[in-house]
């Protein structure tokens, strides 16, 4: 008999978690909606805050915001979440919509969500919290969410931190004992065009993944590996150049600051000495036949295309393996796909063209380097 109330409490808590996540999804749907007051505010503020063009902001809001979640996805998300007294979110700035998923994960973890928004780009975090404040369903599910200026986690809390590895290290060093840190650090995306993939279609899909957020996210492909000979690699690079030009007309790249423009100039000069590079006002594409080491492009819609004439060539990615957070491929059975997966088993695998839209089933990526520090508690039942 004594088990029954606890089981009932746990079931209720689980339903509360589901309800809170659904409320966050409803909030993001409002932000995605250009007719909603929150959607209008997002479109007004984000170009300045994010550095994306207005068209880039629209693309992000329309395609990358988590506006729906299925029950199986929710099951997986909740299985990831664990339990905490307070779930803190330290948001990052590079992907303007990322705060929405971060808050959804926090809401699944605790009734009490506290968000430290990015100083550079607080917009989506502020709007989600504002929407939750108006949502009676969120309150009914026991949810409380607020913006806070700084992290003040205590034992029993969880911190979900997003940003560079250096930021993760700094946060970890400052945490009290007993606080669980879920690190989401530095990363990049790799795309594979397998031998069986049609070149034009693959190039269009990769251009879509590159153009979203102007390639700033850890899911954005910065390197494209092409199975096949030099001719196929060159053909992919040309098709990608053309596709990125089309994207550049539809969704112009945001302005580059001087530091990024300088990095791009030096990367282009380096690529000129190593292979071939095409530079456009909207993007750059470089091709290497047989690189021994990779010079990763700055995140400004600049892509390095490398040939994998034989599977051994995939090893050139090895020094990057710990940073590979996303892996785009249409043929998971391709030999190169299996090799890349073996190098970066924690990378989020997606089809080409969907790298920036992972389902809402947990954090966007699950590398070991982005894992847990401390011991997250299992679901202990409702304490809201």
């Amino acid at each position: 008999m004594s088990e029954r109330p606890r089981a009932g409490a746990a079931a209720g808590a689980a339903e509360g978690r589901r309800a809170r996540v659904r409320c966050v999804v409803a909030a993001t749907a409002r932000i995605a909606d250009p007719g909603d007051v929150l959607g209008r505010e997002a479109r007004s503020r984000l170009p300045a805050a994010s550095g994306l063009s207005p068209e880039g902001v629209e693309l992000a809001l329309a395609t990358a915001l988590e506006r729906r979640v299925t029950e199986p996805q929710l099951d997986r998300l909740l299985a990831w979440a664990g339990d905490a007294e307070v779930a803190w979110v330290v948001a990052s700035a590079n992907v303007c919509t990322a705060a929405a998923r971060s808050i959804a994960l926090a809401a699944a973890t605790s009734c009490d969500v506290r968000v430290c928004p990015s100083r550079r780009d607080p917009v989506v975090a502020e709007l989600v919290i504002a929407a939750l404040a108006e949502d009676v369903a969120y309150a009914a599910a026991g949810g409380r969410a607020q913006l806070v200026p700084a992290l003040a986690a205590r034992a029993g809390d969880q911190v979900h931190a997003y940003g560079s590895d250096a930021t993760m290290d700094a946060i970890e060093a400052a945490l009290d004992p007993g606080v669980t840190l879920r690190r989401h650090g530095t990363g990049l995306g790799v795309a594979l065009v397998a031998g069986s993939d049609p070149i034009e279609g693959a190039a269009d899909a990769i251009a879509c993944d590159v153009s979203a957020f102007d390639q700033r996210g850890c899911l954005s492909p910065r390197v494209v590996v092409v199975e096949g000979d030099r001719g196929r690699t060159t053909a992919l690079a040309r098709a990608l150049d053309a596709a990125l030009s089309r994207w550049g007309r539809l969704v112009p790249r945001g302005p580059l600051d001087a530091a990024l423009a300088g990095e791009l100039a030096r990367w282009i000069a380096t690529q000129e000495a190593l292979g071939e590079v095409v530079t456009r006002p909207s993007h750059a594409v470089a091709v290497h036949d047989a690189p021994t080491s990779l010079a990763i492009a700055p995140a400004v819609r600049a892509v390095l295309v490398v040939a994998a004439e034989d599977i051994a060539r995939v090893a050139v990615l090895a020094p990057l393996a710990r940073w590979i957070a996303a892996f785009g491929r249409d043929d998971p059975g391709a030999e190169a796909a299996r090799a890349i997966h073996a190098l970066a088993p924690g990378a989020r695998a997606s089809r080409l063209g969907s790298m920036q839209r992972p389902p809402l089933d947990g954090p966007v990526e699950r590398r070991e380097s982005s894992s847990v520090r401390g011991a997250p508690r299992a679901d202990a039942g409702g304490r809201c």
């Binding site: 990052s92 700035a93 590079n94 992907v95 990322a98 990015s118 550079r120 997003y162 940003g163 560079s164 590895d165 250096a166 989401h184 650090g185 530095t186 990363g187 990049l188 390639q215 700033r216 996210g217 850890c218 954005s220 910065r222 600051d257 001087a258 530091a259 990024l260 423009a261 300088g262 990095e263 100039a265 030096r266 990367w267 000069a269 380096t270 000129e272 000495a273 190593l274 292979g275 071939e276 590079v277 690189p291 021994t292 080491s293 990779l294 010079a295 990763i296 700055p298 995140a299 020094p319 990057l320 940073w323 957070a325």
Partner: protein, 361 residues
């Protein structure tokens, strides 16, 4: 059987060494730089690609400014050498980076490197000093063949024919403070000026060894060089200079800055001990090196006296790249070259991998 490229290389080395010995005017500099660039565009694949990509006609070029500068990053991504690896007599390497790649500068002969190092290092480091001994805070060249700094230090010691003690344990990768303190005490007891040479990392270790008495005799001097992010040798911070002077009891004018890098065959120095130097705090390039500040975005020269990143034409780079594009910020004036530190990477934006992160050692 010798290859035609080896013959051409030998002839160019001879011309460069003559220029180092006899001097050369601006026209002679341009002519020799262009001959080197033509040779390299024929025999060094990355330079051939760069020349092609920029559409440069080196046969019609009249000045060194026309030579495409090879970004120093290229040295860690491809071989930049006119000769095959089996002809290497020395390969200098940069320190490691997070991505694992290290820059490599392969030399077919060290003769021109040695001539350049002695011809410019001599008047700046020990023209007015007869050191009897050197105290070295760096590995011996024989223990660390890939270090251009260790190679140069050994060269100076051999040239001066002086006793030297080495105080960096290569195996442990640490400073041996006890033997260093002993060497300093012996030099003090003998009242002999010492030439103090080393890496900035080792100097930092020495400064941190607060229990040790490292004071040197009057007249001693130190050559201070870099060792910051991802580079074997680069610009150093003023604080290190001050702390070094304090720790080793050196007169401020006796701490002499050197600027070099693995990808170069020549060095720049502060003329602190050179009589008549107008600005002893600014670096001087030798006559066979030309430093131009260029815009970080357009890579075109900036207005005279404005800050930019250093494009360096080093005639002693015979078998690699005569023109280098660095990310080191400089201001070039008639009085000398002001080193402003490495160009910072773009501000990291969240979780996206920044290029600078990959370069971090």
């Amino acid at each position: 059987m010798r290859s035609p490229s080896a013959d051409a290389s030998d002839a160019l080395h001879a011309r460069v060494r003559r220029a180092i010995e006899d001097g050369l005017d601006a026209a002679g500099f341009d002519a020799l730089a262009l001959d080197l660039a033509r040779f390299q565009a024929t025999h060094v694949a990355p330079i051939a690609r760069l020349v092609r990509a920029r559409g440069v006609d080196l046969d019609r070029a009249t000045g060194a400014e026309a030579i495409p500068a090879v970004p120093t990053d290229v040295f860690r991504l491809a071989r930049v050498a006119a000769h095959p690896p089996e002809k290497d007599v020395r390969v200098f390497r940069t320190s490691g980076t997070t991505s694992g790649a290290r820059g490599e500068h392969a030399l077919r002969t060290t003769a021109t490197y040695e001539a350049a190092a002695l011809a410019w290092g001599g008047p700046h480091l020990f023209a007015d000093l007869r050191p009897r001994r050197a105290v070295v805070l760096a590995p011996r060249a024989s223990d660390l063949l890939e270090s251009s700094l260790s190679f140069m230090i050994d060269l100076f010691i051999d040239h001066l024919g002086i006793e030297a003690s080495f105080h960096v344990d290569t195996e442990r990768g640490a400073l041996d403070v006890d033997t260093l303190e002993d060497a300093c005490a012996r030099a003090r007891a003998a009242s002999e000026p010492v030439l103090l040479l080393g890496t900035s990392f080792a100097f930092v270790w020495a400064i941190d060894a607060t229990h040790a008495d490292l004071r040197l005799s009057a007249g001693s001097r130190a050559m201070i060089t870099g060792g910051l992010k991802g580079r074997t040798r680069t610009v150093e911070e003023p604080q290190l200079r001050a702390a070094l002077a304090d720790r080793f009891a050196l007169a401020p004018g006796h701490v002499i800055g050197e600027y070099g890098m693995t990808e170069m065959s020549s060095q720049l120095y502060e003329p602190r001990r050179v009589p008549g130097a107008v600005r002893p705090d600014l670096y001087r390039a030798p006559p066979w090196v030309r430093v131009v500040a260029v815009d970080p975005i357009t890579l075109a020269p900036v207005a005279p006296g404005a800050a930019g990143i250093a494009r360096i034409v080093d005639l002693a780079n015979v078998d690699s790249a005569v023109a280098l594009q660095t990310a080191d910020r400089v201001r070039v004036t008639p009085e000398g070259i002001e080193l402003l530190g490495r160009l910072p990477g773009a501000t990291p934006r969240g979780c996206s991998l920044a290029i600078e992160e990959m370069r971090e050692p």
